[in-house]
Symmetry: C2
Subunit: 146 residues, 2 copies
DNA sequence: ATAATTAAGGACAAAAATACCTTTAATTGT
DNA sequence: ACAATTAAAGGTATTTTTGTCCTTAATTAT
């Protein structure tokens, strides 16, 4: 569905929203460890998410780290996809066509369109806050023993 | 959603099912031209689809080319994903976790699960024939002038 | 038989995604 | 001021994906 970068970005954002606030910041290593991602690569992802502090905020130095503001928690998760430049879901159809629509539909258009609509709705309406329920520690591990 | 390889594979399969039969075979160049894909790369994709002639059939030599049998048209399009080793949709969740389920759900599980179910149903129940039906649209061009 | 045609197969090239490492800058506490 | 800590930034390495090219094998028509 998404690139690893986007998966890490979504996991990191939700985890930070669950665990942090401006008084309790999370270090890169805490985050990478929690969301099961390579630390150095995760650093790059976090840099994208903190661009202009628009999704994630960060401060350097001792007791520094990453956190998210209450305002940013209200953003729809689509913003995370935008930050990662992951727009194919919104632009392309399931066969990879760019302008697949009612006027020039592909052979799978009528089958995929309703599903695409739900996916778009999910990312445009669900906020970071709605996905980050702090009442219980969430599962972010790629491989679980079931 | 899918890799370019898988997109080409789906487009090629549907196109071949629309246009060919054992008496009317399609050359590599006809196919690549129709589905808007790089010819040499498409050749590799077609090799995967013709493995054991299980989805697409081919014959070499003059008047040779690719075609699909009536039997193969009855296969669900999931078979194309299998041939391309594109299994993430069926295995992983939207955050990239392998064993995301009711017992250990990720933070997006309950939002994504119903959509994933529809996607799986689409690929497991729709046959190549159903998508290649003359009643279905037949546009395969990546960039349309709308 | 021979030549022409077409897919199959192998090697290789380019580009993109993923991952790592080192240095720099900011911040904090002493 | 200084040392310690932490993210930012830059460069590089590795792997995967995408794409090309050339040779081989099969088939057909002459």
């Amino acid at each position: 569905m998404f690139s690893k970068s986007t998966e890490y970005a979504l996991r990191a954002t939700i985890y930070i929203a669950q665990e942090s606030n401006s008084d309790k910041k999370l270090s890169l290593n805490q985050i990478a460890n929690a969301i099961d991602s390579p630390p150095s690569f995760t650093a790059k992802i976090l840099q994208l998410l903190t661009k202009d502090n628009c999704i994630i905020s960060s401060v350097r130095g001792p007791n520094g780290g990453f956190y998210i503001t209450e305002d940013a928690k209200q953003l729809p998760i689509r913003k995370v996809l935008e930050a990662m430049d992951e727009q194919d879901l919104f632009i392309k159809c399931i066969l990879g066509l760019n302008n697949c629509s009612e006027t020039k539909p592909c052979p799978m258009h009528y089958q995929y369109q309703p599903i695409k609509k739900q996916l778009i709705k999910l990312f445009e309406t669900k906020t970071i806050l709605q996905l980050a329920d702090p009442s219980q520690p969430a599962n972010f591990l790629v491989n679980n023993s079931l």
